[in-house]
């Protein structure tokens, strides 16, 4: 395992007018589960290919434990990758697939047996060891692909490229559980690329948000969610995304706009911030009280309020909204956060 450093990393495709990635700086700690979150077109795949050695940086460096690997090809880098769909040697059994990266590198038979056993145990694949991989279900195949990525003891970094895409929703959480458990058990450095913010926030120790402007923020899922450094992050992360209003509406000085999560707001008949209820969605009950979302149209835009829903609120009704916590932005960047007393 290794710590991964991106040092002023730039990449431009040959013939392109501008950099796909420019001046990326990021450090992923040894044994960290790191999620790289970004919309499509943000350069996630390019960054992944730079890490795996399929592409080489135009300038800047990729360091594995302080060693510059920028110009090394993939096979020299001790990197493994799990792809969007299961990539296996389909004519081989599960066991032979798992042993493949070790056999290729002429590992001893004892080591191969030991590692394959560990992986099978960890991923609960023991009953499938002799099965030909073409016969497996999609979920099992992806598990084996994950196992194959983890089997080499010296692997520095495991890249996961939206590994849950091909798996049906019902199975998704199971695979994510397995992934999280294995990551914790084996202490593998993992970089998980996804456009799905729920996956990123639930999987990672830290999350980086990548856009065409570069890395907007790196932090723990809590920080990313509660204190987005950039309006885009607040908007992109969370379901629903952050509410934004002009700062003046909440009487905040020194900022342009103010953002708040739907659960930081509540209905208050005495509040000066008013709007008309445009819709509501019930999500269940809490303490016997209905719980869900309210969409409220204010003169400044739509606001979503989440929490306990008073029984007497109807669509079209005039309501007041009180905000308890906020993050203030100036030119898109966070300048302050705080609470209203």
């Amino acid at each position: 395992m290794a710590a991964i450093t991106l040092d002023h990393l730039c990449f431009r495709y040959p013939g392109a007018a501008q950099d796909t990635l420019s001046d990326l700086r990021l450090t992923v700690a040894d044994g960290e589960a790191h999620a790289l979150l970004g919309a499509s077109g943000a350069g996630k795949t390019t960054l992944l290919n730079l890490l795996s050695g399929l592409l080489q940086p135009t300038s800047g460096r990729v360091l594995f434990d302080e060693v510059d690997v920028s110009s090394q090809p993939g096979r020299a880098r001790s990197v493994a990758q799990v792809f969007q769909f299961p990539v296996l040697y389909e004519s081989l059994s599960v066991e032979d697939n798992l042993a493949f990266p070790l056999r290729v590198r002429k590992a001893s038979r004892v080591l191969i047996e030991q590692r394959v056993s560990i992986i099978c145990e960890e991923l609960e694949l023991n009953h499938l060891r002799q099965t030909k991989s073409a016969m497996l279900s999609l979920f099992e195949k992806q598990l084996v692909a994950l196992g194959k990525a983890l089997v080499r003891p010296e692997v520095a970094l495991v890249l996961l490229d939206e590994p849950l895409t091909a798996v049906e929703p019902k199975i998704k959480w199971r695979l994510r559980q397995s992934l999280r458990r294995v990551q914790a058990d084996l202490g593998v450095t993992m970089i998980y690329v996804t456009h799905d913010q729920t996956e990123a926030l639930t999987f990672a120790d830290r999350v980086s948000v990548l856009t065409t402007q570069g890395l907007l923020q790196t932090g723990t899922p809590e920080t990313i969610y509660n204190a987005p450094a950039h309006e885009y992050v607040g908007h992109f992360v969370g379901s629903p995304g952050m509410n934004f209003l002009p700062a003046s509406v909440l009487h905040l000085a020194g900022a342009e706009r103010v953002g708040f999560r739907s659960e930081w707001a509540e209905l208050d008949p005495h509040s000066a911030l008013r709007g008309t209820v445009a819709g509501q969605r019930l999500q269940g009950t809490r303490d016997g009280v209905p719980y869900g979302w309210l969409t409220v149209n204010t003169v400044h835009g739509e606001v979503v309020v989440r929490g306990k829903l008073p029984a007497d609120v109807l669509v079209g009704q005039d309501v007041g909204i009180r905000v308890r916590r906020y993050v203030a932005f100036e030119e898109g960047k966070k300048v302050a956060e705080g609470e209203f007393v």
Binding site: G53, L54, R75, F85, V87, Y89, E90, F100, P101, T131
Partner: protein, 276 residues
């Protein structure tokens, strides 16, 4: 359904039944025929000329398959997937497949002539006394070369189509695993080419087993009977000598052998594919 049944009946079932009917009769003329049972079958299977032609046929099919399949895969591997010249190369490869078979025979008949043919003259100039009209071995080699020239493209085009269908991720994963070029071929490409290769082998097996036109034009089955394959022997019997009964029995046996080979091949390929 009915039109399809009619078409199949007229194009396949009725002619086949006619042949089966002929094969159990001794036909002197259209009004004088005797039922002879399986006599023609017994005679055909015991006929040394049939056995020789059959052995030659198996040898020929095995030889061309053993050359064309690996060579076709190698050619396909050599074609760049991204080059701008690729479409041109594919067209050039397809040209032999578009030439009428008797023309292929004629081309090679001239090409290999020791007196004026480019190939024949060149081989003779290099010190080898080459004459495919006199030497059985030379006739064989020329026939095999012609078939390889004619049909390797088919395997190559099929294999190329199969190769381009392999997602890049498979190559990336193999690269990260540290697989050698051979291992990539053996464990990534070959398993994924399986489907198209089955088609290629089946097509080449059937076609080479039924080869008629090219050797007929090139060598006429000679020198001696050195390149007389089953189809040509059959044609001589049926059209040359009007032995309709024996020729019909021969046809049925011939047909059954092709069916048997294809079935054996297909069954052996699918043996390990039984559902879990």
């Amino acid at each position: 359904m009915l039109p399809v049944l009619l078409i199949v009946a007229f194009s396949a079932v009725i002619p086949l039944m006619t042949v089966v009917n002929y094969s159990v009769q001794d036909i002197l003329d259209l009004n004088t025929r005797f039922f002879v049972g399986l006599q023609w079958y017994e005679e055909t299977l015991a006929d040394p000329r049939f056995i020789d032609a059959f052995a030659r046929q198996v040898g020929f099919s095995a030889t061309v398959l053993a050359i064309e399949v690996p060579l076709g895969i190698a050619v396909a591997k050599g074609i760049s997937k991204t080059s701008r010249l690729t479409p041109l190369i594919l067209i050039v490869l397809a040209i032999p497949l578009l030439i009428p078979w008797n023309v292929v025979g004629t081309i090679w008949q001239m090409f290999a002539r020791p007196d004026i043919g480019l190939l024949g003259v060149a081989v003779n100039a290099s010190g080898i006394a080459y004459n495919y009209t006199a030497e059985p071995l030379h006739a064989w080699l020329t026939l095999v070369a012609m078939d390889v020239w004619h049909w390797t493209s088919l395997v190559a085009l099929l294999a190329f189509a199969g190769l381009t269908a392999i997602p890049n991720a498979f190559y990336q994963a193999a690269e990260l695993d540290g697989a050698s070029k051979w291992q990539v071929f053996r464990f990534v490409e070959l398993p994924r080419l399986r489907g198209v290769l089955i088609i290629a082998v089946l097509l080449r097996l059937m076609d080479s087993f039924m080869i008629y036109t090219e050797p007929f034009v090139l060598t006429g089955g000679g020198p001696g009977n050195a390149t007389t394959f089953l189809s040509q022997y059959l044609a001589t019997m049926a059209v040359g000598q009007f032995d309709l009964g024996p020729a019909a029995a021969f046809s049925v046996i011939y047909f059954l052998f092709i069916l048997l080979f294809c079935w054996l091949f297909y069954a052996s390929i699918n043996r390990d594919k039984a559902p879990r």
